[in-house]
């Protein structure tokens, strides 16, 4: 029982990270029906920007005196950087292809993914980059169960970002414009919604969330590497599909499910097949419900 609760906490932490990345896939798909395969690379870039700033602050000694400020600043800068990176990528690699067949943009996305990951390798090197580790070590212990401070931070921050995103999409004018663009670009243009702006914004927000996930992964696991975006990217994509691609709540749910299945699969059945379990669930759900768990009315309420 004790280790069950521990595994549950592990699963929520991992699932939260997948959920944050999955949102980027689902939002972009919602607006322009493109699977942005370069999304995992924004996650990796976020992790790198985070380590650069955190090491910089640690070097200056600010980390000890103002830890909250340094952390907030690193998150903000990394999210902003990745948002602009994503907007740039959209302008260069996807926008010119928007009128072409969907396959063209998809291939372009794959190309951008390879380009960015190799770019990271060339500029940052092939070795792991260590995060300053003094941050938030230790945790709460209840008998055999240990909840790291970082796990608490990740879960809280993930929760806060998800709530903020929901408010943005469903309660503000910008969100309304996003939903309108997702439903019908021509029609929303007629009521003076600039679709280019909205698409840029969507890419920016998605990449920003991925960057936040990147820093959290770096903090939690202690290091980042240039190819770290690939595997979580694939998992998060599966999470988005599982939840119903295009649906924000679905992506969150999908992320949590994939994270949980992976942890419980490894914890109770066998560690070597944990990815298999995640994909069995995916295939199972898609077999009975091809639009994903929440993807009921894919034509009306996607973002």
């Amino acid at each position: 029982m004790d280790s069950f609760i521990q595994q549950l906490i592990n699963g929520i932490t991992l699932g939260g990270i997948y959920a944050l990345i999955a949102l980027g896939y689902t939002m972009v798909y919602g607006v322009i029906q493109l699977i942005n395969f370069a999304h995992g690379e924004f996650f990796a870039a976020g992790g790198y920007v985070g380590v650069i700033f955190l090491s910089f602050f640690t070097g200056l000694g600010y980390m000890e005196t103002h830890p909250i400020f340094c952390l907030t600043a690193s998150f903000a800068l990394a999210m902003m950087y990745c948002a602009y990176l994503a907007i740039g990528v959209e302008k260069i690699a996807y926008k010119p292809l928007r009128k072409e067949a969907r396959l063209a943009a998809l291939l372009s996305a794959l190309g951008v993914s390879i380009f960015l990951s190799n770019g990271l390798m060339l500029t940052q090197g092939v070795y792991d980059k260590a995060y300053p580790s003094e941050l938030f070590q230790g945790g709460f212990s209840f008998g055999i169960i240990t909840i790291g401070y970082l796990q608490v931070l990740i879960v809280c921050l993930t929760g806060a970002l998800l709530v903020a995103l929901n408010l943005l999409v469903f309660k503000t004018k910008i969100g309304m414009a996003m939903r309108a663009t997702a439903q019908d670009k021509t029609m929303s243009a007629l009521v003076a919604i600039g679709s280019n702006k909205i698409i840029s914004l969507t890419f920016g927000i998605g990449a920003g969330l991925a960057a936040a996930a990147g820093i959290m992964v770096g903090l939690y696991y202690g290091s980042v590497r240039y190819d770290m975006g690939f595997l979580p990217g694939i998992k998060a994509f599966s999470a988005a599909v599982l939840g119903g691609i295009g649906n924000i709540t679905g992506a969150m749910l999908g992320g949590l499910i994939i994270g949980m299945v992976e942890i419980f699969g490894a914890g109770y059945i066998s560690g070597e097949y944990k990815d298999v379990f995640a994909f069995i669930i995916l295939i199972g759900v898609l077999y009975f419900k091809p639009t994903g768990i929440m993807g009921e009315n894919i034509d009306d309420t996607r973002v």
């Binding site: 595994q7 991992l14 092939v126 190819d227 979580p232 992976e262 942890i263 490894a266």
Partner: protein, 379 residues
Amino acid sequence: MSKKNFSIMAMALLTTLFIISAASAESLKIGSMSPLTGPYASDGTDIKNGVLTAIEVFQKQEGGIPGYDKIELFPQDDVCDPRNAVAAANKLINLKVVGVIGAYCSSCTIPASETLDEAKIVMITPASTNEQVTDRGLPYMFRMCGRDDDQAPAAAKFMKESLNAKTIFIIDDKTTYSQGLADGVSKNCKALGMNVVTHDHVNQGDKDFSAVLTKVKAANPDILYMSLQGYSPAALMSIQAKRMGIASQIVTQDAVFQPKFMEVAKEASEGVYLTYGFTDPTTPEYKAFEQIYVPKYGKIAAYATYAYDSTIALLKAIKAAGSTDPDKIKAELMKLDFNGASKHVKFKENGDSGSSYIAFKVVKGEFVPYWEPTKGLIK
């Protein structure tokens, strides 16, 4: 085919031939094969750097090889993927290299050596420790590092005698190397009367080990044996084990012998034990290697030293043979008997050069020799 097309093709072919012959007249070509991209890029890059250092030192100390202006390296990237390794081997055959240093992963060395063997090209692996590398009886396959069936008993003996271990939890990542070694350690531990609680597996490229570590914590073994390929997953697992409050001693193996391990795992690396071949860092041969390597590439890592020695051995043999005939090179390799940077190099009949596994302990961010199979603790 029209006449015009044919003549263009003939011209193109002739030009290529001309370029190839012009190039081979002045430079001796050797190849290296290691993962330069992908999850093991760092270890593969260390190997390439070791080979480059050896070429530089050899040219300086021995004045190169008579009849050639320079020694040219063709580094190939195998991504630690058997398919890429065979493709790289074929590419090296087409480049007409005289010898190959590589590969890193046992799963690459084994298929690539079959291909290279058909073309009669000498291959010296600096890093593949799986028994199958030399046990297949390929005539042109040599190995500079140790063997896993020497490493596993050494590790088991160390855990039994020095750490007084009774229970052990083994985790491997399902690569040819890590699984082979983990099976060996498991077998040897059982033979010594230790209890192997669980032998679990993770996947290559995993970052999150919380699920398997929760199992370790519940089992509370004396030893957590991490059979992982590369320092990176080992560092991640050490960090997560420490964070979870696992009290077991961590023991790991040669692939983790990389200063980056301590850089990433920091305090979580303290007190971790690992088995690795003994290298005396005070010999003049090691110093010669260090002098060139460190300023260019930084701290010396796991297989850079073995890659260096492999290259020196190959070049010495080519020079002594006075030709690029594979059988002459092989004969000269068998005759070699010299002090390398990592150890004394003398190849056996099967291509192995002996193992010298000892246990190291991480103390204050350094690998410190800790225990020796025959003499016990090292003071």
